[in-house]
Amino acid sequence: MNAEELIRSGLLEAYVLGQASPEEAALVERMRASDDPVREELDAIELALEQQAMQQAVAPAPKVRASIMDAIKHEGGKKEVPVIPIQREHKPFNWMAAASVAALVLSAVMNFMQYRELRDVRVELAQLQDDRSVLAEELKVQRTSMERTQQQLAVVMDPRAEMVVLNGMGAAEGHKARIYWDKTASAVHFDALSMPAPPEGTQYQLWALVDGQPVDAGMVSLEQDTTGLQRMKDVPNAQAFAVTVEHVGGSPTPTLTAMVLLGQI
């Protein structure tokens, strides 16, 4: 409530007439101390009642004055010493108690907030740790993949490597595979390219034809990574490579009727 509102509310009149509640009286006294217009209005109200009383003055009987002076003369020595309210002694304690309670409440609130914050941080940390594990796994996979790619690239790009193309024959017409053969190191890498999966219970087997004789060069695996290069058994010398369909695990000699690919060097 500002000064203007207070003046218009009628509370100042009620205050002077002794009708204000303790809370209202406290408000009026606060505003009286801080606002000149409020103080002036209160003075005007008080002055009006004062002037009205002065106009209405009725001289009391002379004996009243004497009676009053006599009464206070006898009270002279008994004039009451201002008593310090007991409340004042308790006040610091009460303030401290109130402050303690306030501090406790504040502390409890802060503890709770900190607890919640800690809990949130822990959840966040766990998530971050999970994320990190996933990333680490992915990195491992990528690294492995990259290493493989680099190895394969190294094989392919090796200037000593000779590429042998194996073409499909008969029923396998149109299918292709490739061999990268480093004669110096005898190393043979097989690239399955577009080979279909072999019939159930069978497996492709690579043969090196050395002086007309087939020499086992290892089993071809299509299961894991058909796009990758597969390291086969070492072949120091050969005139051709062939792939046959054999029982799982391979055969000591090729089943020539089941030859699907042939690559001449």
Binding site: R8, S9, G10, L11, L12, E13, A14, V16, L17, G18, Q19, E29, R32, A33, L42, D43, A44, I45, E46, L47, A48, L49, E50, Q51, Q52, A53, M54, Q55, Q56, A57, V58, A59, P60, A61, K63, V64, R65, S67, I68, M69, A71, I72, K73, E75, G76, K79, E80, P82
Partner: protein
């Protein structure tokens, strides 16, 4: 009433009897007028007036210049003492609230008229609009709270508040005109 009144009250607080005599000489009549208006009987008024000044003597420490003019403080002591007297007397005599009204509205009747100048009884309050005079009578001379006035008159509390202000504004205007 001037700032020197505050010094008189301070002197009273320190036990200066002559200071109380000066306050009496300056305001005894005005306070007596207020008291008479409330209690309506000369002998009761004398008793209340003496009681008022003894209370001023005893409780001068209780005066706070920040809370109002010295006269307002003394007048409230006189009013409260007079209203207490009326209520006590009413309870003693009849034990009913109606007697309070009779006593208070006894103003201007019977023996009081003999003691007071008729011109003074027809004071500024008497010249106010009836509804304003009624509010001042109830609040000032009977010590009613605003809620009690609202209950008594059937007026809404808000109207009592605004009308109390209007009544005092009219009183202020009247006093200016008749100064």
């Amino acid at each position: 009433m001037s700032a020197s009144d505050a010094y008189l009250i301070e002197a009273v607080r320190q036990g200066d009897q002559s200071a109380l005599g000066k306050l009496y000489d300056a305001y005894g009549g005005a306070l007596n007028g207020v008291i008479l208006r409330i209690v309506a009987k000369e002998e009761l008024a004398q008793e209340v007036l003496q009681d008022t000044f003894v209370k001023i003597w005893r409780n001068a420490t209780g005066y706070d210049p920040a809370k109002g003019r010295p006269f307002t403080w003394m007048m409230n002591i006189a009013r409260n003492a007079a209203i207490d007297m009326v209520r006590t007397a009413a309870v003693r005599n009849a034990g009913s609230i109606r007697s309070i009204d009779k006593t208070v509205y006894g103003i201007g009747h019977d023996d009081l008229r003999e003691d007071m100048d008729v011109a003074e009884v027809r004071d500024v309050v008497g010249r106010l609009k009836p509804e304003h005079r009624e509010l001042i009578e109830m609040a000032y001379y009977k010590g009613y709270s605003q809620q009690e006035i609202a209950d008594d008159t059937g007026l809404p509390l808000g109207t009592v508040k605004s009308r109390t202000r209007a009544a005092l504004l009219e009183l202020r205007t009247q006093l200016k005109d008749h100064r």
